[in-house]
């Protein structure tokens, strides 16, 4: 077919000998057409990124290498081209956008120069012409003040701006194909929506083919013309976006689609309790007060500004906000990892703000936390049993008793009791998060603060963990403060939502009310920015 831009034919990529499987990509075949966005979707380890990198031969040689198949582009097999030939294609005919714009850009070079390099390599333009072109490109990706941006360093730009620079770089010489490897994963949801919009807009105006790698079906719904689903290096399903999303054929695809958290708000399950368990009143936290002896007066950041909220007994509140909104700081103030600068925090009638570590110690049994990163939250040198039993032993439980309870807790979170004798690295991310939950439950707390507990997990695992948390909360009659950036997740587990922006709670209420009738502009924007919001509200699978 004449409008086929790129053909991946039976591609196989081998992993190094010490890996747990032989091939990262196994016999994958795909076509990408002109003026089309093809989304490759899959969970971590599905081989989607390796496949994308192998197109431009950017695999980390010699360990990971292509062992079979062809990649045809403009009549040539990219895998057999000479170095100068493939260099002419890289950035010229096929461009690439990466996940983390901060590390994908050279921190020591002005961004203008980094875009300029593409022109320098692939065109015969003179320096002055190139500068004009770079300015045009910066304007094309809707960056404000291109004249200023062109001489900025990457660290002087925001995440979204950096990704715009990457896109400008990719567009510089009008390539036939752009490969975008999870370009919005590191961005906040509102920024993500803007970038997705930009990519789509530019793709339409230039007629470029885009190979878009993502793990998020919401993003797929938002942007894709066609979808390829990958699992363990193999292609599971390939089809038009609406077909795959609404009537998935493969079991794996079905499961994945089902695991996407629903946009359907959760209803209130019980009547409000008489007295709230946790009362937060006018809590403040400002950073940057402490300079060194000779240090410069650092800038001060008001992370949390006079925030108040209540959580009733047996209730769950989701604190939703983008990065830098102050939601995690507030959580750390409540749990006592940081000292608030003002206001009151009252737990079950007892004032806990302003307590010292020692005074706080006995109160710890009422208040526990589930952390974000399942890999960083378990000490790699301690056994699971020790990790879970630490809290109870500090509270005075005997070691034998604490270990016995740890075994029971492991069963409760769906792991085998023998796990107590093993070390964290022997478990997968989802399993570790279950261990983290077991640890939080070990002291039988009344309130659990969960700080983005599923944001590091794949979507299918995420669903299981959320279900577990929800089940435990209800059976153990716990209260929960759930910190998340993802409204979909918030809607899944909490009956109340508080939306934070710039250290303030801009809106607070029942999930159903907020979803159906957002009052604040920011809440509205957040809701609109949820990728695939249209698709999800249309077909809502429930837990």
């Amino acid at each position: 077919m004449s409008d086929v831009v790129l053909t991946i034919d039976n591609l196989t990529v081998a992993l190094p000998s010490w890996s747990d499987r032989r091939n990262a990509v196994e016999g994958v075949s795909l076509d990408i057409h002109r003026n089309e966005i093809l989304c490759v979707v899959g969970e971590s380890g599905s081989g989607k990124s390796v496949m994308a990198k192998s197109v431009l031969r950017l695999l980390p040689a010699p360990h990971v290498r292509v062992t079979g198949g062809r990649i045809l582009f403009e009549g040539k097999d990219l895998l057999t081209l000479s170095e100068p030939e493939i260099r002419a294609i890289r950035g010229g005919r096929i461009a690439m956008i990466f996940q983390e714009p901060m590390v994908a850009l050279n921190a020591l070079m002005k961004v203008g120069r980094q875009i300029d390099e593409v022109l320098e390599v692939h065109t015969k333009m003179r320096a002055a012409e190139r500068r004009t072109r770079v300015l045009e490109l910066l304007a094309d990706v809707h960056l404000p003040e291109p004249e200023r941006i062109i001489d900025s360093y990457p660290h002087e730009l925001s995440g979204g701006q950096r990704q715009r620079v990457m896109i400008a770089m990719a567009l510089a010489v009008e390539p036939a194909l752009i490969i975008a490897d999870e370009p919005t994963t590191a961005l906040d949801v509102t920024t993500q929506a803007q970038i997705l919009h930009l990519i789509k807009e530019l793709q339409r105006t230039h007629g470029t083919a885009v190979l878009f790698i993502t793990h998020d079906f919401g993003v797929v719904a938002e942007i894709a013309d066609r979808v390829a689903v990958m699992r363990h290096g193999e292609l599971v399903e390939l089809g038009q976006t609406s077909d795959v999303l609404n009537t998935p054929q493969a079991d794996y695809t079905k499961a994945l689609v089902a695991a996407v958290p629903s946009m359907t708000p959760r209803a209130r399950t019980s009547a409000p309790a008489s007295a709230p368990l946790l009362i937060v009143r006018n809590v403040e936290k400002t950073y940057g007060r402490h300079g060194g002896w000779f240090g410069s007066r650092g800038r001060t950041v008001k992370a949390v500004q006079k925030v108040s909220l209540d959580i009733g007994r047996g209730r769950s509140l989701a604190l939703v906000g983008e990065s830098g909104s102050g939601k995690s700081t507030l959580a750390r103030c409540i749990i006592g990892l940081e000292e608030s600068d003002g206001g009151e925090i009252i737990l079950d009638g007892e004032q806990i703000s302003g307590l010292t570590r020692n005074e706080m110690r006995t109160l710890r049994r009422h208040l526990q936390m589930v952390f974000q990163d399942p890999f960083a939250s378990l000490n790699p040198r301690h056994r699971i049993g020790d990790i879970i039993a630490l809290g109870p032993t500090i509270q005075g439980v005997s070691k034998e008793q604490a270990w016995k309870e740890a075994r029971e807790l492991l069963m409760l979170v769906g792991l085998k009791p023998e796990a107590v004798d093993r070390y964290p690295h022997e478990f997968s991310g989802g399993q570790r998060q279950r261990i983290g939950i077991a640890r939080a439950l070990a002291v039988k707390p009344k309130l659990i603060i969960a700080d983005e507990p599923v944001s590091a997990l794949d979507v299918s695992v995420q669903k299981q963990v959320l279900e577990l948390l929800d089940k435990l909360r209800r059976t153990l009659d716990l209260s929960m403060l759930f910190i998340t950036h993802d409204l979909r997740v918030a809607a899944t587990v909490c009956e109340e939502i508080a939306v934070m922006q710039h250290g303030l709670i801009v809106e607070q209420g029942s999930t159903a009310d907020i979803f159906s009738n957002p009052q604040h502009a920011y809440t509205h924007a957040l809701l609109q920015a949820v990728p695939g919001v249209a698709w999800q509200t249309r077909s809502a699978p429930s837990i």
Partner: protein, 327 residues
């Protein structure tokens, strides 16, 4: 804008170093007081014995009959006006002695610094480019051998080979004292004398920088921005020169700053082997002669030297890395 900010940064940093340098001086002053024996006994000892009256006379002259705190106060008061005292043993003001010896040391250290940094970075760069080839292995093995060889041993072996057996270079000293060269001839002559000592002192640091540079290059080459550059269609050469090199230099620059102090220490040995008339040798002599004023002066000067070089390194770092905020 940035220029003024940099100037203020330098001033602020200089101000910060004052207490450090003064602290070093006070610490050393007190430390040296712990040492038994004094200059008067040494002078008398060198004189082959002297009557008690003479030794008492000396002590009084050196101010050693005063309590330590008075001596410290006098010394610090002098220091503030750059009066580093008088070396009674050398019969000259300490400052003058130091300045006499400063430039040979600076010459040796500067040459060593440039040699080791230049060759070390080049070797590390090449090894990284040739990574896992026989050339890389040779560079790496040579570097690690240099790294492991005692300095003085290298010096002795170089003298044995190049001065005595081959006669290519002079055995010692900074210039030919028979010829009394002037002008250009003198420059050539000093350069000729400089070859062996600077090579001796360079080898260790050369190895250090080469290894660091290689590791840094390899680490940088695995980072995402290199993949970006590659995806732009840049050649490996362009990637290395435009992108990787500057990033990879940052840890080397940091290390070079850290090593200045140790370079001064190493020059004690090299100066002793090659009879190089620098501060290191002066320090060694004054230590054993209990010439405390002079020794304190050397400590003061070398602390200043270290602090200044560290500052220069930091400024270079600021210039290399736009992420460093200096406001």
């Amino acid at each position: 804008m940035r220029g003024t900010a940099l100037l203020f940064y330098i001033l602020r940093r200089l101000l910060q170093t004052v207490p450090v340098v003064l602290g070093v001086v006070v610490l050393n002053f007190l430390l040296l007081q712990l040492a038994p024996g004094d200059l008067a006994t040494v002078l008398a000892g060198e004189a082959g014995g002297a009557p008690k009256e003479y030794i008492d006379l000396l002590r009084q002259r050196f101010g050693q009959d005063q309590p330590v705190i008075v001596q410290l106060y006098r010394y610090m008061a002098g220091l503030l006006t750059l009066d580093l005292g008088y070396s009674f043993r050398q019969s000259a003001p300490v400052l003058q002695l130091l300045l006499d010896r400063l430039w040979p040391t600076l010459l040796l250290m500067g040459t060593t610094f440039l040699l080791s940094l230049g060759f070390g970075v080049t070797m590390g760069l090449l090894a990284a480019l040739w990574v896992r080839t026989w050339k890389d292995h040779i560079v790496s093995v040579v570097a690690i051998i240099f790294y492991a060889t005692p300095l003085f041993w290298v010096g002795l072996m170089l003298i044995l080979l190049f001065s005595i057996k081959l006669g290519w270079f002079p055995t010692s000293g900074m210039e030919d004292v028979v010829a009394f060269n002037e002008g250009w001839d003198r420059v050539v002559d000093i350069a000729h004398h400089l070859v062996l000592p600077s090579i001796t002192l360079s080898l260790f640091y050369l190895a250090l920088y080469a290894r660091l540079m290689r590791a840094s290059m390899l680490e940088q080459r695995g980072l995402d921005y290199v993949t970006t550059a590659r995806a732009k269609g840049l050649s490996e050469r362009q990637i290395t020169i435009r992108h990787v090199l500057r990033n990879a230099l940052l840890p080397v620059v940091t290390m070079a700053g850290v090593q200045v102090g140790s370079l001064l220490g190493g020059s004690v040995i090299v100066e002793s082997v090659f009879a190089w008339p620098g501060l290191g040798q002066l320090a060694y002599q004054s230590l054993f002669a209990r010439d405390f004023n002079l020794l304190l002066g050397i400590f003061f000067l070398s602390s200043c030297l270290v602090v200044i070089v560290n500052l220069i390194v930091d400024v270079v770092y600021v210039l290399l890395d736009p992420r460093i905020r200096i406001g």
